[in-house]
Symmetry: C2
DNA sequence: CGGAATCCAGCCCGATACTG
DNA sequence: CAGTATCGGGCTGGATTCCG
């Protein structure tokens, strides 16, 4: 990681996104882990039980659902409540911090809806040029 | 993929995030590919040459920089201009569509800055409980 | 129902070397 | 300077099986 100090002195005031200086990296890595965002958005509609989350995101595996929920819980984004019923049921819901990321996430989701068509067109055009 | 039709009829009006119905998935997969967001944010400050991007994101490899730029170009997010100088120089800049995603991205980035400390605390607390 | 544990394929991505 | 090509390790994540 000595490349960092090199880069700092080397350049004309470029913003540098390096791992330790940059909270963005830390958070974005989670957003980008393929399932976190979808689960957060789903939980944004209200608390869900394990099985309900699985149905809301059909192609997630049980393994990744469990793991992603643990990670989100670890980061303080969601809370996990076990109801000692028979059979047991577990409810997940957003914490205040988890709820606070919904707005940025929805902004991104809205952007995706709005531009998805344009992106598909751009991809097709690009791919055609290359053959 | 027949699990989809199952899920649709099975439940009480849950929003279902499945791949083909869901532009969000398509876009979020790119956001999450570890480098795209950082490059978009960097290009949001202005056009950059290849080498400048490499310095702005120090721990990206040449390979991933090239590949990520290609993908972003393919999606119509950035444009690539070659100047026939000696040695050659190549400038990357955001397209209008690429620029339009900056606001949501920055909202997320700002959220990350604001909550990074809280997340670290939550992680530490969670990890201590488990030992 | 909600998980945990194990096994294993695939790809992501970094390191390295070569080009115009 | 701005790439391309190739190799290979590691981690992601799916499938399956078992538990309370």
């Amino acid at each position: 990681m000595s490349a960092v100090s090199q880069a700092n002195v080397a350049d004309e005031r470029l913003k540098v996104f390096n791992t330790e200086l940059c909270p963005v990296r830390d958070v974005l890595d989670r957003i980008g882990d393929k399932w976190s965002t979808l689960l957060l958005l789903t939980l944004g509609e209200g608390p869900h039980r394990f099985g309900a989350l699985k149905r809301a995101v059909p192609d997630i595996s049980q393994r990744m659902l469990t793991q992603t929920l643990r990670d989100l819980q670890r980061d303080g984004m969601i809370s996990r409540t076990v109801f000692p019923t028979q059979p047991p049921s577990v409810e997940y819901r957003l914490t205040p911090m988890g709820a606070s990321i919904l707005a940025p996430l929805r902004a991104l989701s809205d952007w995706a809806d709005a531009h998805h068509a344009a992106i598909k067109v751009a991809r097709a055009a690009f791919d055609e040029d290359k053959g």
